[in-house]
Symmetry: C2
Subunit: 272 residues, 2 copies
């Protein structure tokens, strides 16, 4: 998917909501557990109920790997369902991968070519040759971890290197890499005060923002400092939407919660 | 596996060789492609031919994910074969994972509990709460990326934070985390001159050393500065061993190459 197509979808749906498909069999409605593939059935119901309110879905791969082969089958079925039934949706493999060059090429092939995700999250610690193999895929997007939403972000990401924080070094350095136009970045909603500085470094790139809802970040604050002329934000909510109810009505409850967030976003976009 | 058991195996085999099982279907002997699971058959043949020369095997998970469900099946069969037939062998899931706390717990469950690997490689960028969930598993080992063997290591890892390189900050900080006795570290063989400083910070931990052979690192140099009283090194070779021949005699050729490295190691251990 091109960035222009993503922007067009955002404007059409008046939403920049991403829904995190982080499925935990211990949290989903027990009636699903009788199905052959409860994870896929859960995702399918959530997607069908919310596809008009969200522009992106983000399965975190850890939740699928934790169920072994069955988890991978559920992941394959979920991405295939999204690509077939809702091809306008932007898909994110939240995998946080990264390895030396020829190995990163393997991960890129797995998620971009075989599973056909539009994007993948990648960790920057191993530097340029660990990220560039992902950037070589045209109309695929590499979402580099910059400043994450968790407490551990302060252990290394905010330490100063050459007078500026490590995450700023990551942002500036990555902007010099080949095919850097295929980069997006992860910045946590819990770090809203940092968006002003971040937008000075990457005025044009999309930013994927986890950490609203359960983790405590605010959509209004993130938007105040993070929006750009193309909107430029994808705000993710997982637990707050997909576990809004753990009863049989979970999909409708998820849609209600997604609608609340979409309407907040619509209000913000109307003022742009 | 306990660290003591690993050390005992090293002393018994007079080897600290780790063999990287990074299987590429385009590089293996074509006669294997007629088998139902060529990746597993390749691994099985390599393991059977080299198990007395190596103390550890390290499948890089990217090579398995690149083949989707079939890749995961081959990975499961490989680790089950190792655990059943050669339980004394130390197993490493080279996955370079890491995510916020509750998500890292999922990865830890997948690789430690379900697949039953002895260890996993983890990226440090997201800090303490992304690593500690792995450290909670007793007699399982978390191998944290410190200074990697690739060129991109110089992009961020060797930049100075508070007057010392990022990778040293990672080493020192990680030594303060809960259950840090379950930590090992990755340091590339191509960075042998850094082992002196590294051993001052982590005198006792095991170091997994990729980058000998194809990447150009030297075993003798790494040992000169990296050995400790428990040996404390696992030196990995992948391509140099497993693709020593791409003909039907690949397993014997791999054993010959592994034997060369084991004998070099035996010579070094004899001088300790």
């Amino acid at each position: 998917m091109t960035t222009q197509e993503l922007v067009a979808q955002i404007k059409k749906k008046k939403s920049f909501l991403c829904i995190g498909l982080d499925v935990d069999l211990q949290k989903i409605s027990t009636h699903l557990l009788q199905q052959e593939d409860p994870i896929f059935e859960f995702n399918k119901a959530i997607i069908d109920a919310t596809h008009h309110l969200a522009v992106a879905y983000k399965p975190n791969i850890a939740f699928y790997e934790a169920y072994g082969i069955k988890g991978w089958q559920a992941l394959e079925k979920t991405i295939n369902y999204l690509n077939k039934k809702y091809p306008e949706i932007f898909t994110i493999a939240d995998a946080k991968r990264g390895d030396i060059g020829n190995t990163s090429t393997r991960y890129a092939k797995a998620f971009f070519s075989d599973l056909n995700f539009d994007s993948i999250t990648v960790a920057p610690y191993m530097g340029e040759d660990s990220v560039v193999p992902f950037l070589e895929f045209e109309n695929k997007h590499t979402i580099l971890l910059a400043l994450t939403s968790n407490r551990g972000a302060f252990d290394f990401q905010t330490k100063k290197v050459d007078g500026e924080e490590v995450y700023k070094k990551v942002l500036k350095t990555a902007q010099t890499w080949k095919n850097h136009h295929n980069l997006m970045y992860v910045v946590g909603a819990t770090k809203a005060e940092h968006f002003v500085e971040i937008r000075k470094i990457i005025p044009n790139n999309f930013i994927l923002v986890p950490g609203v809802g359960a983790q405590g970040g605010s959509i209004a604050e993130v938007c105040e400092y993070g929006l750009n002329e193309n909107v430029g934000l994808l705000i993710n909510s997982a637990r707050g939407i997909i576990y809004a109810s753990t009863e049989e009505n979970f999909a409708e409850a998820a849609a209600e919660k997604a609608k609340e967030l979409q309407q907040e976003m619509e209000g913000i976009l109307a003022k742009m």
